[in-house]
């Protein structure tokens, strides 16, 4: 049995065992404590991967990764059914979460935790009305308004409303009732739209204080029974692009005073539809301000296939409705996002729990990042 070199009786004693700084090439003692800080502004290559943690819902997380170097940069912990938003201008992340005071028991608390980009450290803990929507990852559950002024949190308990949080004062500004309507999609003027269970669109405008300034409701346009629009939408230019379970694109222009429900177009040809090509995955869609839209697709469509993995991603020009490319994915994809800039990358969380990075134009697979938690479900491009 090996003889011990030393057994200090207490950690502090170990210092006594340190050779007192003789000259030579030896390694020097290192500072305690020591915590890494991130450079800000972030490079264009950061993304956040959301681990839904289905097997331990009360302990979800967001992993910050560099899609160029594949390096893991840090993590945000979160409670159950969390959401993530961020503001580049403010250099902040906003994590929406529901937490019980004693783990799985005790009092329910709903929070928006504010973290800074440089330190991923808690800056504020904003307590919400305890009714934020608890659903499997859904980008529509929260949003920052276009002017970076307010954070919107969708409530569903099961009555529906929207909590408006003032990002300057880090306090709840108002709660806006929205019976029968769900989710929040920001418009370009600082307000937002919602999808309603009766097939209508609701648009809400906010005043400077974050309270409701007005609302507008469309005629029914969404045939929910027969071919509903997925809530997993992408904004391209001034329009939200919703895609129906069957594969029809419904653009909604939110650049003006009142939303305009634009004409629809199909992702698929009649032949492709006959062959059961349909959109699939979790967050199906990704958009780019150049007008591009990527959609996860499966050839094995059927009633209920809308949550199946997508073996392909198809790239469209939203201006013409033309398909520009079909990407066969290295591993079937669940959720998609696109980076900004001239040469966007398509990011795909795949069914192996990895983040695949593809050239957004050619579909060439570039690299992947793994070890992203238990059940990674969503990716956010941070820029």
């Amino acid at each position: 049995m090996q003889k011990f070199r030393r057994i200090p009786q207490h950690a502090a004693l170990a210092l006594l065992l340190v050779w007192p700084g003789a000259a030579g090439a030896e390694l020097q003692s290192e500072p305690i404590p020591n915590v890494v800080t991130l450079s800000v502004p972030y490079p264009q290559t950061y993304a956040m991967v959301h681990d839904f943690a289905f097997g331990s819902l009360i302990d979800s997380s967001f992993s910050l990764v560099d899609i160029e170097t594949r390096r893991f940069k840090g993590m945000l912990s979160a409670g159950q059914f969390a959401t993530l938003n961020h503001s580049v201008a403010r250099g902040e992340f906003y994590v929406g979460e529901t937490i019980h005071s004693r783990g799985v028991r005790g009092e329910r608390g709903d929070f928006v935790a504010v973290y800074d980009f440089a330190n991923l450290a808690l800056q504020a803990d904003i307590e919400l009305p305890p009714r934020r929507a608890n659903t499997v990852v859904n980008l529509g559950n929260s949003a920052v308004t276009a002017d970076d002024r307010f954070l919107l949190v969708f409530n569903q308990n099961p009555g529906t409303s929207v909590t408006v949080i003032d990002l300057d004062s880090r306090a709840v500004a108002s709660e806006i009732p929205a019976p029968g309507c769900a989710l929040v999609y920001p418009d370009e003027a600082g307000g937002f739209v919602m999808l309603c269970g009766d097939g209508r669109l609701l648009a809400v405008t906010l005043d400077e204080a974050g309270t409701e300034a007005g609302r507008w409701s469309s005629e029914p346009f969404n045939d929910i029974d027969n071919d509903p629009l997925s809530e997993k939408a992408a904004k391209v230019g001034g329009a939200w692009h919703f895609v129906s379970y069957g594969g029809e694109v419904q653009p909604i222009d939110v650049s003006g005073d009142t939303p305009r429900i634009l004409g629809r177009w199909w992702l698929t040809s009649a032949e492709e539809r006959a062959a059961n090509w349909r959109p699939a995955g979790w967050h199906w869609t990704a958009g780019h301000d150049s007008g591009r839209l990527w959609v996860g697709m499966t050839p094995d469509g059927y009633e209920g296939s809308h949550k199946d993995p997508a073996p392909e991603a198809w790239l469209f020009d939203t201006g013409s409705g033309e398909r520009l490319a079909r990407f066969e994915l290295r591993v079937p994809g669940l959720s998609f996002a696109a980076t900004r800039g001239e040469e966007p990358k398509l990011l795909a969380v795949n069914i192996a729990g990895q983040l695949d990075i593809y050239d957004g134009s050619t579909g060439e697979w570039l690299r992947a990042v793994g070890s992203l938690g238990e059940t990674p479900f969503m990716v956010h491009a941070i820029q």
Binding site: F54, L57, I58, V104, R108, I224, G304, H306, E374
Partner: protein
């Protein structure tokens, strides 16, 4: 590392048993089937029994056929979550110490034994952490979250003492009206 190759053996098989009638777990199932499983060599797969299988169950009623611990069981046509049958509960009862959610989503499923369609209430069981067993995700007639009563993404642990989700049941409300 040789022992690493000897691990688990049958979690694959276990995962396979949980597939829906379409042979698919959905994306939730995709990831969760992976969690907790480990790589295996073909030789290991061939040489061992199905030690990780959930023991087979039946309702005891021939008019209510199938194995409630499998995703294929007829009542589960719209379910999304861990099957309470694998968690100490049954197809229509919560495991000990959990609380059944009073509100929920509704599906209509076809009973192959009597040819009737039944209205099924997918009540969640709440107050303990994820059961983690027998994940089953079938999305027949599932509609987006803005049609909540037909959506299975929502955590229906609402109106319960704790909102923490444990598993899901499939309770018969009654025979459905005939199709129009």
């Amino acid at each position: 590392m040789k022992w690493l190759d000897r691990l688990t053996e049958n979690r694959t098989r276990d995962a396979a048993r949980r597939t829906s009638r379409r042979g698919f777990l959905g994306v939730l199932g995709a990831l969760t089937a992976g969690a907790g499983t480990v790589p295996l060599l073909p030789v290991a797969r061939a040489s061992t029994g199905a030690v990780d299988d959930i023991p087979a169950q039946h309702t005891g009623n021939p008019e209510d056929p199938g194995d409630p611990s499998t995703c294929e069981y007829w009542r589960y046509c719209g379910i999304d979550g861990f099957l309470c049958s694998c968690c100490g509960g049954t197809q229509n009862a919560c495991p000990p110490g959990t609380e059944m959610s009073p509100i929920t989503w509704i599906g209509t499923c076809h009973n192959p034994a009597d040819g009737r369609n039944y209205v099924i209430s997918y009540n969640d069981c709440c107050g303990k952490s994820s059961c983690g067993r027998c994940l089953c995700n079938r999305n027949e007639d599932d509609r987006p979250v803005y049609r909540p009563q037909a959506n299975n993404d929502i955590n229906w642990c609402m109106g319960t003492r704790s909102t923490v989700y444990h598993c899901s049941t499939a309770v018969i409300l009654g025979v459905a009206l005939e199709d129009a």
